[in-house]
Symmetry: C2
Subunit: 593 residues, 2 copies
């Protein structure tokens, strides 16, 4: 090795040792007779000391070094006069006796510091320099650690990691496939997997019983913020299990990861139904770090807003309230601001009604004209609002109001400091609907729009007691499907699968597949089910997202070594790019004019 | 869980336990009053016992079961009367009290037995059934174990696993790229990586210093036997190292794997040069389980075949001999057979000369007309042949003769039982040539033929002392490149890389890149080298091949869960396949007529 130690290693105990270090020049300080250099590598920073009196030549050579030069030095470890308690190696420095420049550096386009002066685009183009920053490097180290601990946990439980193929067949359910023209099979294409779903099910048919894989998946979607065309899943499947077995196994995984990586103990995860989540949180991935439940004020059997001539509420499909604890002291300005917030196009409500429960118990609202104190007290009762609380009310059409209130709840959680990054609320959401009506998601191929689509995917099994509804009322059928939600983020989802040919064919038919289409795309799976397929189910975790969650970060991009931008471009290597006519010819394709 | 135990778990100590098992019916035996069923899962086989006297209904139900039915049974563990010492669970059986059929099976197209009656094609089409066979399952278990131990070793040495992107840029050096049309970036294409080479080098520029990844790579080659379009590498890179550091680190990996997985201790690996390997074994991946070195009989300074009027040898560029120890008793028939063997088109020699050194020390050859006993004794001396040995001689043009003799050596190794599967000879071959002249490998794009190509790849550094030859005599330049060879198989290869822009540009220019082409394809790497790139080097192991080697198997196919056939097809899922007009339109491509 060119070095004897790393830059994160030397301590007081090493004083007087002869050492050789390699690394990058982080900083040089020229103090007249003395020159100090911070030498950086992946493991830390060590201070190098040069003195005109010790060695004139080497000191002058050191003064010529610029930021990001790669150097190799040898010298003696000495105790520092002024120690740096913020740096693990801050007790020592190296009195340098030889200095080699291994490679020079031109001036980097941005500073390689904790807080860089480079904008997002610039840092993406020079990703290899951005990766030198400790914060970005630590993200990838965290990712590695999570991968190790995931494997440790699953290996101990006899899961076997099996690599499934990347060049597979295009089966356009779900999102769009990336396709790969085959040169050897003219006019045919492979597709890149959106997930290894069918392969892991075939592994269950093969008797592999406990499978996992940390695996790249691909979706050709119009990229919304923070989606990547290639992403990584922790993909798992088990045989001879029921839903509760899977939930237990994989909440065990999450508990293991939190314990090992963050030393946080996570209790057994609560299970709430999809219906419950929608009712109390307004969405299927509730942030349960705080309560602030949604309360319907215009329930049929207990309508506390009707009959007061307030048309807006009388005519609304849904009137929803939340109670913001201790926020009765919100100023008029703050409330106006909140009103503007719900009126933004992203939320799209026409206004916000509020009622303050003051410290003396009196209640004042923005609709006092219609609701007297007694009427408002009914609101307060419904919301369990107490002295000092603020009630916020939205009304309108059902879906829109629920969605808006779900957003407002999260916003109030933020404003009241209830969503701390160091707090982790994990839960299972279960009993999802099997199907949902799709009007026209532009991410779906045209042929998939305006009909029933699978909420999870076509292989999810309906609850046995709901099977009879499949033909009469498909929207009411509940699935043996579950999501793991942490802090309002869906980190994983899965289901108990269909394992009988007949039911799987019925499912395809409900999803609008003709018998021929189902056979062409999934004939192999249907046929496999005839040879003794075991009951099975599984789950997949979004690994990029899980990493960002463990770091308390918002974006997944910084947890991917070489991410793509929102146009699916890697601006560093400049991909995608044109290819040669020769390549196109060999593949028997041409560009459309 | 649907079961309390697996089918590989129950022993005498479990007698009298109430258990529930799930699995597949391997075999049923109906012995009149008694019925026995072998129940199989991933972990083993457990015998189930049914008796008309114990329970008539359940016994009759058991008799109805066919092969590969999936069942769930409960019962009591009892000691067997006639124990089966070949089965770990052979001391016990289950007296079954409840029996549920979880799923039926139609008759499988081949037997799910150690020796299946299914042909290759049929087993590929029903791969999910072939994977039920213990031998195939064990291959994938071995693969998993090797992956775990690889990670354990590298993690301990502070290597960090980083995922590099799959959607990258087409850079057609080496083999053909698979390409992926981009929908969002019209008329542009991603390529699938042939290796993460440039990305791992960028990670070194980033300071990641020790990287690895077990990663899928892709090559669109005309598939020879036992090549796969997608394959897996153990890909590694280190900074601040010299060649010897990499050799030490990764022979450590191989030693670790052999110890942990096979309990075999491997000594420090010998290092031999490429030139040595070519001279003594005739190829650059010698099987060193046995010696049988190639001996040149027509050396300029010691020509032991010239001047005897044997035109064939006199005119040959190369006359090579090997000495097959103890094979002097080969019959005329065996020798004729060997002669036919070297005449086959795959070898392509016109004949084979032999000389037997008999037990009494006399030497008889197939060319006695030209060489008397004294002349033949010179051959024997050159080959170090002793009493009882057989000398085999081939002659002709240099490359062809060397290649043929290399093959004949391996063949004789086989025939003499010198290549035992349980014997492992590992070594490093070093000092490869940097470049080789390529006439016209059809796997290269046309533009790459008829010029110098990189023996490893364009990023391999020349030996410093040979750099001056780059312009004068490129073919003589040796590289800091190395292969790990085990039993005649190249399992890994790598090099110390170029890390200076100038040298890398020179290398591209020698390889026939214009400045513009180099800039377009690798500008990002050249630019990165300007920001303080550290000295670095690495290696990649063929993981599929490594697995097959550890199992003593010839083919890699059985170590891949879902392999493709020689036409790049997955016959199980029937991929590749046609895609819809809609998909083609969205990608702005069309098929050529």
């Amino acid at each position: 090795m060119l070095r004897t130690h790393t830059c994160g290693q030397l301590l007081l105990a090493d004083v007087n040792k002869q050492v050789t270090l390699c690394g990058w020049v982080q900083k040089t300080r020229d103090l007249g007779g003395m020159t100090f250099i911070d030498l950086r590598d992946r493991y830390g920073i060590t201070q190098l000391a040069f003195n005109l009196d010790w060695d004139k030549n080497i000191c002058e050579k050191a003064r010529e070094l610029s930021r990001e030069f790669v150097i190799k030095i040898s010298g003696t470890v000495i105790e520092r006069e002024s120690k740096n308690k913020n740096n693990p190696t801050g007790d020592i420095e190296i009195r340098v006796t030889t200095l080699d420049i291994l490679n020079k550096s031109i001036t980097p386009p941005f500073t390689i510091e904790e807080q860089s002066d480079g904008g997002d685009e610039l840092r993406m183009r020079y990703r290899y320099l951005d990766l030198r920053r400790a914060s970005v490097r630590k993200n990838l180290e965290l990712r590695h650690r999570l991968a190790i601990e995931t494997r440790n946990y699953l290996d101990l439980l006899s899961f076997i990691e099996v690599e499934t193929p990347v060049l597979i067949k295009s089966t356009p359910e779900g999102a769009r496939d990336f396709v790969v023209p085959s040169r050897m099979n003219k006019n045919e294409f492979y597709a890149l997997p959106q997930s290894p779903q069918t392969f892991k099910q075939l592994l269950m048919v093969s008797g592999f019983d406990r499978y996992y894989q940390i695996v790249k998946c691909f979706r050709d979607e119009d990229l919304r913020a923070d989606r990547q065309p290639e992403f990584t899943q922790i993909d798992c499947e088990m045989s001879f299990v029921e839903q509760e077995d899977i939930l237990n196994t994989f909440e065990g995984l999450i508990q293991h990861l939190f314990k090992k990586v963050k030393n946080i103990s996570i209790d057994k995860l609560p299970r709430i139904t999809y219906a419950h989540a929608m009712e109390f949180y307004g969405n299927d991935k509730p942030d349960t770090r705080f309560d602030m439940h949604l309360v319907q004020l215009n329930k049929a059997q207990n309508n506390v807003v009707a009959g007061k001539n307030f048309k807006l509420f009388d005519e609304a499909e849904l009137v929803l309230a939340i109670c913001a604890k201790g926020a009765a002291n919100y100023t008029r300005k703050q409330l106006d601001e909140l009103t503007e917030w719900v009126k933004r196009p992203q939320i799209g409500m026409s206004g916000l009604v509020y009622a303050r429960v003051s410290e003396d118990g009196t209640i004042k609202s923005s609709v006092d004209k219609f609701y007297n104190e007694a009427a408002l007290q009914l609101w307060a009762n419904a919301c369990k609002a107490q002295k000092g609380d603020l009630i916020l009310v939205l009304s309108g059409s059902e879906n829109k109001t629920r969605k808006a209130m779900s957003e407002l709840r999260l916003e109030m959680g933020n404003r009241l400091g209830l969503r701390g990054k160091d707090k982790y609320a994990c839960l299972w959401v279960v009993d999802f609907p099997l199907l949902e009506w799709n009007e026209g998601d532009p991410n779906l191929p045209e042929s998939m729009r305006g009909r029933w689509v699978a909420k999870h995917h076509p292989f999810t099994s309906p609850k046995p007691e709901d099977v009879s509804l499949l033909t009469t009322n498909p929207g009411e059928v509940r699935a043996n499907a579950y999501d793991m939600v942490i802090n309002g983020v869906e980190v994983g989802g899965g289901s108990i699968r269909i394992y009988e040919r007949e039911l799987q064919e019925k499912m395809f038919s409900i999803l609008g597949f003709t018998r021929e289409e189902a056979q062409k795309q999934f004939g192999f799976l249907l046929h496999a089910f005839e040879f003794g397929a075991p009951p099975h189910g599984g789950i997949a975790f979004g690994f990029d997202r899980l990493c960002s969650l463990f770091a308390g970060a918002e974006s997944i991009r910084d947890f991917i070594a070489f991410p793509k931008n929102n146009h699916g471009r890697d601006t560093m290597i400049d991909a995608p790019s044109t290819i040669s006519e020769e390549q196109l010819n060999e593949l028997n394709i041409q560009l459309k004019k």
